[in-house]
């Protein structure tokens, strides 16, 4: 960016892109978390000192399990997701948008529902324990890698690897020495998200791990909620935060070191049809196996929603139209609430995360890296502690925000923002600096450069990010679960309520709502990308 030409505008832009995300993070993440940690560490009724907690062999055991299962889950997820990312990032084919939307579905399903489906699917002996945890983590997180990496791949100029092929490199060698280095930063980026999700995994570990396995997150929950030992919980939350901060630091560092730039091109120039039989077979095999892996648990959910007595019927779906005591509303209102909250959260995430993406992409300095890393922290901080933090942080009379409806999309956005940054920044960063310089030389203001060069290239990524942010907010991760809700239940809340009531019809309605959530996610992600495609004329 040419700062001599328009210094005021450049400074204002800088203040905006750094200031808004940092203020948002400070107010809605750091402040509540600091409040609860301060309260926890200061609570004196307990015999255990923070040092006792740290040196407890149980703490070490839990921390070790948390770490290794997260690393293993991350590596497995990348291995499983890479072939599909390649197919989506390289080829144009009918139904490509449908595949991209469908992959997103598992990611947003409530963990309890998926865990119950897994119990039914996994073979006896494998259905509980660390293997089940890893498989479930892969199931959930494949979407992260496929979407984040796939979106980047689709803008990677294929002429580079074509040149390598012309020069006689085998496809394997060209992948290893040309494509992989170009992908490395975005792989590191996606991997860090998967790592954080696995590291802080909660519901999956409780149900599929069985009672013998615990992660730091489940142990924090146990201490904070079951034992009400806030001091131990705070110490463990700090341990978790330090681990997460180290991981994030390493990932952002790696990402920047690996960034090569490379030529970005609009997707329509990159994607090409599947030509040879080999290409078609590879696409069919990689997408097909992924479809089976992701599809079977989803099919179990559909089947469970239809099972009534010994046969099948739509009774559970019909029952959804009736008001129920379980929700103080009809289930359809829960669907509407979910969509409204998620749309709000997606807008917040797109604005805050989009600005941050410009800041992160605009500089290779420590400041940008710090911003990028800080925005990742909400993914790795203890959800229960942040949730409790909200309860004590925003309690000043006469304005009490603890139970305002708008706090829900704000907290949902906390989780969605890092995704927006991760999807948009690598694309922005890879824009050839010479294009910007050329525009500037020709007299374009920095604002015009952003509007006419950055935005169109980022358009694809912004579209993907919008869909993803919406989907993430529908799924309600992290601290959202621990907020007190006014009487406007969302889909995941409604699913829990039905699941918590005895009676076959209640269980059926829980699964039916899970199927509806799947449909809402799939359709909305598809629609967002479709709208973007129509507007920009891309396919």
């Amino acid at each position: 960016m040419d700062e001599h030409r328009a210094p005021v505008s450049a400074h204002a832009w800088r203040a905006l892109t750094y200031g808004v995300p940092l203020a948002f993070l400070a107010l809605f993440f750091a402040y509540p978390l600091a409040s609860i940690l301060e309260r926890g560490l200061g609570s004196g009724e307990n015999i255990r000192s923070p040092l006792d907690v740290l040196t407890d062999p149980l703490t070490r055991e839990v921390a070790w399990f948390t770490l290794w299962q997260a690393v293993a889950s991350t590596l497995l997820t990348i291995a499983v997701a890479l072939p599909a990312s390649y197919v989506l990032g390289r080829y144009a084919f009918r139904g490509r948008n449908v595949v991209a939307a469908a992959v997103t579905v598992p990611f947003v399903l409530p963990t309890v529902v998926v865990a119950l489906a897994f119990l039914a699917v996994l073979p006896e002996g494998l259905e509980r324990g660390w293997a089940a945890i890893l498989i479930a983590h892969v199931f959930f997180n494949v979407a992260v890698v496929v979407r984040v990496v796939g979106a980047f791949w689709a803008g990677l100029d294929p002429r580079v690897s074509e040149a390598a092929a012309t020069l006689g490199a085998s496809p394997a060698r060209s992948f290893r020495e040309v494509t992989l280095p170009l992908l490395a930063p975005v792989l590191a980026s996606a991997a860090s998200i998967v790592f954080l999700f696995s590291f802080t995994s909660f519901g999956i570990v409780l149900i599929l791990g069985g009672p013998r396995y615990s992660t730091l997150e489940t142990e924090i929950y146990n201490q904070a909620v079951r034992m009400f030992d806030l001091r131990t919980a705070a110490v463990l939350a700090l341990v978790q935060l330090v681990c997460v901060a180290l991981a994030v630091w390493a990932a952002t560092h790696l990402e920047q070191r690996l960034a090569l730039g490379g030529q970005r091109r609009a997707e329509r120039h990159v994607l090409r049809p599947l030509r040879t039989r080999g290409e078609k077979a590879f696409a069919a095999a990689s997408l097909g196996s992924l479809a089976i892996f992701l599809g079977v648990p989803l099919a179990v959910l559909v089947e469970s929603s239809l099972a009534v007595g010994d046969g099948y019927s739509l009774e559970a779906y019909r029952a959804l139209g009736r008001p129920t005591d379980a929700l103080l509303a009809t289930p359809w209102e829960a669907v509407l609430n979910s969509v409204v909250y998620a749309a709000g959260a997606a807008v917040i995430a797109l604005v805050v995360g989009g600005l941050a993406a410009f800041a992160v992409a605009g500089s290779r300095g420590g400041g940008a890296r710090l911003l990028d890393g800080s925005l990742m922290l909400p993914l790795g901080a203890s959800a229960v502690m942040v949730g409790f933090g909200f309860v004590i942080a925003f309690d000043t009379k006469p304005i009490d925000f603890r139970s305002s409806p708008w706090i829900v999309p704000v907290v949902q956005a906390l989780v969605a923002i890092p995704f927006v940054v991760r999807i948009v920044a690598p694309t922005l960063r890879a824009i050839d600096e010479r294009q910007r310089e050329a525009a500037a030389v020709l007299g374009a203001s920095p604002g015009r450069v952003r509007r006419e060069i950055d935005l169109p290239v980022a358009g694809r990524a912004l579209g993907v990010a919008a869909g993803f942010a919406f989907a993430i907010s529908l799924g309600e991760f992290g601290a959202t679960v621990f907020l007190a809700r006014p009487d406007s239940p969302t889909l995941p809340v409604a699913i829990f309520r039905f699941l918590g009531r005895p009676g076959e019809l209640n269980t059926g309605q829980a699964y039916a709502l899970a199927v509806i959530l799947m449909a809402v996610v799939g359709v909305s992600v598809f629609a967002v990308e479709r709208v973007r495609a129509l507007r920009t004329g891309w396919v």
Partner: protein
């Protein structure tokens, strides 16, 4: 965080969301009353509407996770609560709530219709609202098809005949699981309850995280197609299996082992520092009044404590109200809960 910081922050927040928060200014009495409760709370629309009509107050319901999360948040905000009335603290957690000084004293006139045995706090900081019994449930068809006598007592569970048939919830993570652990402590006493669990472990008891998995997935008698015909659930689960089935069967597919039942009582209380204390008292009266009490069985699947409340026909026909369930004083629970759970964990899980 000082009050000054908080005030500055509040001002900032206020500017951010101007107009979106309905903060009734001035000293006018609030026009609403806020009930803070857990996710299992439910009430029929018309019952809620009746409260609003008779009291002139809008009833806002704030749901806040399970009973443990609800209480944790109440303890964190003691003196500056999120609402006016809390409903959903049970006898398992009562001592923690009372020690945390969460509630204000209030004795509702409706207590005249409540049996003394439900009133666990003589100072009336909490008011009993409902009771439910955690009991073993079994799948009637499973036993009749195999011509095996279903279990009659806790003792039966360690019989090799019932090996591999029982699924229980982890008391560290589940309320019914905890109640069932208490049931064994009361029945067998210290330290014999530990032997009972060692023998249960030898008899291949399955421990799962929560009621949802135990009942909906592992148990053979409900929606799931699990393999375990005995489960820890509630005395009110059999009528729920009738009411929420399509079409409704003539008799409940599951039954309760009365000998195993442990009583849980749920309480409500006026929160200390409530914004609308007068409204809060009206709400406690309403919760204990006949209209709400008669709504309890079909909305929350527990039993009313008000003896003048009539039970719905489904409950009269299919539910068992155990005559003399196992009970433990809240003080004793408070003193020993964490130790028992720890000992249980090392016996059953390690």
């Amino acid at each position: 965080m000082t009050q000054c910081h908080k005030a500055a922050l509040a001002a900032l927040l206020g500017a951010l969301v101007l107009g979106s928060a309905g903060c009734g200014g001035g000293d006018e009495p609030p026009s609403d009353v806020v009930l803070v409760t857990h996710d299992s709370f439910a009430v029929s629309d018309d019952v809620k509407a009746e409260f609003e009509k008779t009291s002139g107050l809008k009833l806002r319901i704030l749901q806040s996770g399970d009973a443990g999360e609800l209480l944790s948040k109440a303890l964190l905000t003691a003196g500056n609560p999120q609402g006016d009335v809390l409903f959903g603290v049970d006898n398992n957690l009562l001592s923690r709530a009372l020690d945390g000084d969460v509630f204000e004293q209030y004795a509702s006139p409706h207590l005249a219709h409540v049996d003394e045995r439900y009133v666990l706090d003589p100072e009336h900081r909490v008011t009993p609202i409902d009771h439910g019994e955690v009991c073993l449930n079994y799948d009637k068809a499973w036993f009749s098809e195999r011509e095996i006598e279903p279990p009659q007592s806790l003792d039966d569970l360690v019989d090799p005949r019932f090996a591999g048939l029982l699924v229980v919830e982890n008391p560290a993570t589940s309320t019914p699981g905890l109640a069932f652990l208490f049931a064994t402590v009361v029945r067998y006493g210290e330290p014999s309850w530990q032997d009972f669990w060692r023998r249960l472990r030898e008899n291949d008891v399955l421990v799962v995280d929560g009621w949802e998995e135990a009942y909906n997935v592992r148990f053979s008698g409900a929606a799931g197609r699990g393999s375990r015909p005995i489960v820890v659930s509630y005395a009110s689960s059999p009528p729920a299996e009738v009411i929420f089935a399509a079409p409704r069967p003539d008799e409940a597919p599951t039954a309760v082992v009365e000998d195993s039942c442990f009583r849980q009582i749920e309480f409500a209380g006026v929160l200390r520092g409530a914004r609308n204390e007068g409204g809060a008292r009206k709400l406690v009266d309403f919760l204990l009044g006949e209209r709400f009490q008669e709504d309890i069985p079909l909305s929350m699947f527990v039993f009313p404590v008000n003896s003048s409340a009539d039970l719905p026909p489904e409950f009269k026909k299919f539910a068992v109200v155990p005559e003399s369930p196992l009970e433990l004083p809240p003080g004793e629970i408070g003193k020993n809960r964490d130790r028992w759970v720890k000992e249980w964990t090392s016996i059953v899980l390690r």
